[in-house]
């Protein structure tokens, strides 16, 4: 886990621990690439992604990784209960 930076974006990946957090700064190419790969991998595994460009904005579904999002929440595939 890297220290939070002022321009940092965050991906919250749901799991049994509550969630894992992945931070990236859009101006850091390497970090952004790691976030993109993680995003693509999770989408392949059936996760849905929801992002918001600001803290207050209601999140909407994302089909593609958008590094400018302030926060992305990765939700495992939905199953009927």
């Amino acid at each position: 886990m890297k220290p939070r930076m002022s321009t940092c974006s965050q991906m919250s990946i749901m799991d049994h621990s509550g969630h894992k957090e992945l931070l990236w700064s859009p101006d850091q190419v390497e970090d952004t690439e790691i976030a993109r790969k993680t995003f693509d991998e999770l989408i392949k595994r059936g996760y849905s992604a929801f992002g918001g460009a600001t803290d207050t904005e209601a999140k909407h579904a994302l089909k593609k990784f958008d590094p400018t999002m302030k926060e992305i929440v990765m939700v495992p595939t939905i199953v009927g209960g």
């Binding site: 919250s12 749901m14 799991d15 049994h16 621990s17 509550g18 969630h19 059936g46 849905s48 929801f50 803290d55 207050t56 209601a58 999140k59 909407h60 579904a61 926060e71 929440v73 939700v75 495992p76 595939t77 939905i78 199953v79 009927g80 209960g81």
Partner: protein, 162 residues
């Protein structure tokens, strides 16, 4: 009489000698059982701690996703309302893992319940986050509704007793 007592004493000595190695084994077994019990206790405590930590983390994530009104409502009542992104229907999401989504009619009554949630062993608050995000987006609301099981109102008693 004296001879009998003396014979019994000797017999007790012999038996005691014979049992000595078994006593050591018994002692060892007792120690192992105690150690096993101690480890089980530690593992259980660790599991409880991890579950609590996971719940706290999931609650933080949930509270971050809710707007002020939803947050206040959730803190006061343990539920919050979400408007369907595509349908405009109002859903009430309660803090539970089974059948916890109430589909409301325009006059505010419960039409039926829905049961669908993110897969996996997740804390309950993650369930609520997943349900809210899916329902408030127009595209995912449709797919969520397709997967959700509909629970009629008359099954509520059964669910609340689970």
């Amino acid at each position: 009489m004296h001879a009998l007592q003396s014979w019994l004493a000797r017999l007790a000595e012999v038996v005691d000698k014979m049992l000595t190695p078994y006593r050591a084994i018994q002692h060892q077994l007792e120690q192992e059982a105690r150690e096993h019990e101690r480890r089980s206790q530690l593992a259980w405590q660790q599991r409880v701690r991890e579950e609590r930590r996971a719940k706290r983390r999931a609650l933080t994530l949930l509270l971050r996703q809710l707007d002020r009104r939803q947050r206040d409502m959730f803190r006061a009542h343990g539920y919050f309302y979400v408007t369907g992104g595509g349908s405009g229907v109002t859903y009430r999401i309660r803090c539970a893992k089974i059948g916890n989504i109430d589909v409301l009619t325009p006059d505010g009554n419960v039409a039926h319940h829905l049961c669908a949630h993110p897969a996996g062993d997740l804390p309950v608050y993650d369930f609520l986050v997943g349900q809210m995000l899916q329902l408030q987006d127009a595209t995912t609301e449709r797919s969520f509704l397709r997967k959700a099981n509909i629970i009629p109102l008359d099954l509520k008693i059964l669910l609340t007793s689970m």
